[in-house]
């Protein structure tokens, strides 16, 4: 066993290298590894959170779609109801209008007929008077025989 100062020299070199490793190598590598470990666990956590959020969104979406469908159906039925209503309304209005037009037309007709009859009657009365005048050769007092004339004209 040939011990000499090499023993001490080796010890000092050992201390120097350990110090160097402690100062310049170990902490840097440790930091890299720990950062990566953290990033990986963060990433995994984010992924599972994203998955959970996706599931939530999916179920929420279903609810929303259901609601929208229901609303759309409601709207549709409301609209068709309204349309029916409108058609009904329009129909009845049109009928009323038609009735009214018919009524006024028949009233007009009646009036015209009445007027025509009136005219005919007065003409007939005049004819009768003039005929009678001719027959009798004398003027008949219109006012005195008005009742009679009326009776006659009514017979036509």
């Amino acid at each position: 066993m040939d011990f000499n100062y090499t023993l001490i020299g080796q010890l000092l070199a050992f201390i120097l290298f350990v110090w160097f490793c402690m100062r310049f190598i170990w902490p840097q590598l440790l930091e890299i590894l720990e950062t990566r470990e953290k990033e990986i666990s963060d990433g995994l956590e984010a992924a599972s959170r994203g998955k959970r959020e996706l599931e939530d969104a999916n179920s929420q979406r279903e609810v929303i779609v259901d609601e929208a469908k229901k609303e759309a159906a409601d709207l549709l039925s409301q609209a068709s109801q309204r349309a029916n209503q409108m058609v009904e309304d329009a129909k009845s209005e049109a009928q009323e209008e038609a009735e009214r037009v018919k009524a006024s037309a028949s009233a007009d007709l009646e009036q015209a007929a009445k007027k025509a009859r009136e005219e005919i009657r007065s003409e007939v009365a005049a004819l009768v008077v003039s005929g009678a005048e001719k027959v009798l050769g004398a003027e008949i007092d219109k006012d005195k025989n008005a009742e009679l004339l009326d009776e006659i004209s009514k017979e036509y």
Binding site: M1, D2, F3, N4, Y5, T6, L7, I8, G9, Q10, L11, A13, F14, I15, L16, F17, V18, F20, C21, M22, F24, I25, W26, Q28, L29, L30, I32, L33, T35, R36, E39
Partner: protein, 327 residues
């Protein structure tokens, strides 16, 4: 078996003392177990040991006047193994530089291939520390384990370089019989007992530091003296606890040293087969056998290289965790 180095004939004659002397197996092995030494000579000055460095006029003074000797064996503690220190600091710097570059350019989102490998290793060490170390607020244990496993692995890896390659290059591309520029160079720092024991010494200091910090001096000494049998059997307790406490710490360094030293030794022994490669057909056949043996041992040894780096790290973590635990 006699080792006959085939290039020894080319030896430059006058610069070298043992130029034409044939190396036998023992010399060859001893040559490979000798560190490049820089230490205190007999006159008190620090120089490279005799013949370890032969560049320029390194030892002319000694050669001409003989006023001092610089024998590697007489230096005792007052010496330093230049090759061990050089290789370990080189490999440690390589580790620091490489991981510093990766850590600096690391990105959270787009990791490069290199970063992936580094992160895998980092995560592995972090896992070991998390599983075996209770005090999560400790900022030292992670970098400590990481440095140990990487640095020791790199140092162990040097065992897979062919045993003669680096000494041969250092010796100026000459055989070990020739006194080239750098005559001795052990490329495997862990096969020098100072390197693993120096690291283990750091762990021993940390074990004592944390033990005293967490349990107090009384608590720490109490653990060594007052259990398992209570205070009336204190001598017996000490006899049980103290050797156990220190044996595991000494074994921490010696285990690593022993494993790698033995592995290196076997590579050196196998290398003896290559000695007569160019001399005869028999020598060539022996050389081929040696190559196959070397390959087989290298494949097995890769396991030990990685395993011992891991074992040193995990034992460090476990021992330091024990230092935190109060009974």
């Amino acid at each position: 078996m006699d080792y006959v180095p085939h290039i020894s004939i080319i030896a430059a004659p006058n610069k070298i003392q043992m130029a034409n002397k044939e190396l036998n197996s023992t010399d060859y092995i001893q040559h490979h177990l000798q560190n490049l030494k820089f230490g205190e000579c007999s006159d008190g000055r620090w120089r490279f040991a005799d013949h370890h460095i032969n560049i320029g006029e390194a030892h002319t003074e000694q050669k001409t006047t003989n006023t001092y000797t610089c024998d590697a064996e007489n230096m005792g503690f007052n010496a330093i193994h230049v090759d061990t220190m050089g290789m370990s600091i080189l490999l440690g710097s390589l580790f620091c530089f490489f991981f510093w570059r990766v850590a600096k350019n690391a990105s959270v989102d787009k990791p490069s291939k290199t970063q992936n490998v580094v992160e895998y290793l980092f995560d592995f060490v972090r896992g070991v520390v998390n599983d075996n170390f209770q005090d999560k607020s400790n900022k030292l244990i992670g970098p400590l384990s990481f440095t140990i496993v990487c640095w020791v692995f790199l140092m162990n890896l040097m065992d897979l370089l062919p045993v003669d390659l680096v000494p041969w290059i250092a010796n100026g591309f000459q055989s070990s019989t020739v006194y080239g520029p750098i005559h001795y160079f052990k490329v495997l720092p862990i096969a020098d007992v100072n390197a693993p024991m120096g690291m283990a010494l750091g762990i021993v200091i940390l074990i004592h530091y944390y033990s005293i910090k967490k349990k107090g001096l009384g608590g720490f000494l109490g653990e060594l003296t007052l259990q398992p049998l209570g205070k009336w059997a204190m001598p017996l307790n000490m006899l049980i606890e103290i050797p156990g406490f220190y044996a595991k710490q000494i074994a921490l360094g010696l285990r690593l040293y022993g494993n790698l030293f033995a592995g290196e030794m076997i590579f050196i022994l196998i290398a003896l087969f290559f000695g007569a490669f160019f001399d005869s057909l028999y020598g060539a056949a022996l050389g081929v056998f040696g190559i196959l043996l070397s390959l087989a041992w290298a494949i097995f040894h890769v396991l030990i290289i990685a395993l011992q780096a891991y074992v040193f790290m995990i034992l460090t973590v476990v021992f330091l965790n024990q230092a935190h635990e109060t009974h």
